[in-house]
């Protein structure tokens, strides 16, 4: 065992192709495909809802779109910065928290949203909900010392769907 931080896990490496093609199909279809995703081959349920988020590189300013699992809880949309259980935060998380707002897309509808990080009992409740939605999160958390962040998105305005 090495003490070096794991910046990309085996899970992430193995799923890179699937994740990339899923994101591309979602984006290029304008959200008609990709929203509900069968994750049984990844250890999840055959029914998992996914969204697209748009972020901008905090150093480069470069626009990036990625697909993530989400849960809908009390009118807010939860996403998990798991990075497959790596010891570092995913780039999208660092980019997201550098700005007060972002755009996300669910199926064919996109929204401008604010975000917050739930704390304490609320954090635990959302975490449990997200593990039920995607059970591999439990193993991801067990595999790292990092506290895996959860973000709650609060949409406030409909906008045009994301373009590739």
């Amino acid at each position: 065992m090495s003490d070096a931080k794991v910046t990309m896990t085996e899970v992430e490496r193995a799923n890179l192709g699937v994740i990339d093609s899923h994101c591309r199909a979602y984006l290029e279809s304008g959200g008609r495909e990709g929203h509900i995703f069968d994750t049984s081959s990844l250890g999840g349920h055959n029914f998992l809802t996914t969204l697209l988020i748009e972020t901008f590189g905090r150093k480069t300013g470069q626009r990036r779109i990625i697909a993530l699992n989400y849960g809908d809880i009390g009118g807010e949309v939860a996403i998990v910065a798991s990075k497959g259980g790596a010891d570092v935060h995913p780039a999208w998380y660092l980019n997201l928290v550098a700005r007060p707002e972002l755009i996300f897309q669910i199926a064919t509808q996109a929204f401008r949203a604010t975000w917050r990080e739930p704390a304490g009992a609320e954090h635990d409740k959302v975490w449990d909900f997200m593990v039920d939605a995607y059970p591999p999160y439990a193993a991801y958390r067990a595999g790292t010392q990092r506290a895996i962040p959860i973000i709650l998105l609060k949409p406030f305005e409909p906008v045009a769907v994301l373009q590739p």
């Binding site: 959200g31 008609r32 849960g71 669910i106 199926a107 509808q109 909900f129 609060k154």
Partner: protein
């Protein structure tokens, strides 16, 4: 106050036209419109997700498509037979009693599914989750002596979208 059963509530009556146009738009747009709605005017959230449920009339044999609020938890899709707090169950709930499988559509994706009614502590947990998604459910339950049923769908194969 009368002892008569309320078979249609004021809320239902007031939203009849809206429900009809919601259904028509959802189907005609192939799920591009109607999935995420703003229900603040009804006491709900800015972000509320809706599906289409297809049932077959138990007496008429007629195919019926009903738009309903849904939540998803642990890989299952949840709907609530609230009928706006009426004292009778909605037609779709009676109809599914004689159906082993149903079809529902979320956005542009439709699925065959089996269904079940959660009980005990699980039912309470799912009720709380759904009431957080759509707070008026709590008022609906308070308005009727009927115990409002909750139905969970376990999605199976993806199938063709609904057509008008």
């Amino acid at each position: 106050m009368s002892d008569d059963k309320v078979t249609m509530t004021e809320v239902e009556r007031a939203t009849l036209e809206f429900v009809a146009s919601h259904r028509a738009t959802y189907i005609a747009s192939e799920g591009r419109e109607g999935h995420v709605l703003d229900y603040r005017h009804l006491g709900g959230h800015r972000f509320t997700t809706c599906l289409l449920l297809e049932t077959v009339g138990r007496k008429s044999g007629e195919r019926r498509i009903t738009p309903l609020i849904y939540g998803d938890t642990g890989g299952e899709v949840v709907i609530v037979a609230s009928k706006g707090g009426a004292d009778v169950h909605p037609g779709w709930y009676f109809n599914i009693q004689s159906m082993d499988e149903v079809t529902f559509q979320i956005g542009g994706q439709a699925f065959r599914a089996t269904w079940r009614e959660p009980e005990g502590a699980e039912r309470q947990r799912i009720w709380d989750f759904m009431a957080d998604l759509y707070p008026p459910y709590r008022d609906y339950q308070a308005a009727t002596g009927r115990k409002i049923p909750i139905v969970c769908f376990a999605p199976g194969d993806e199938t063709e979208r609904f057509r008008a």
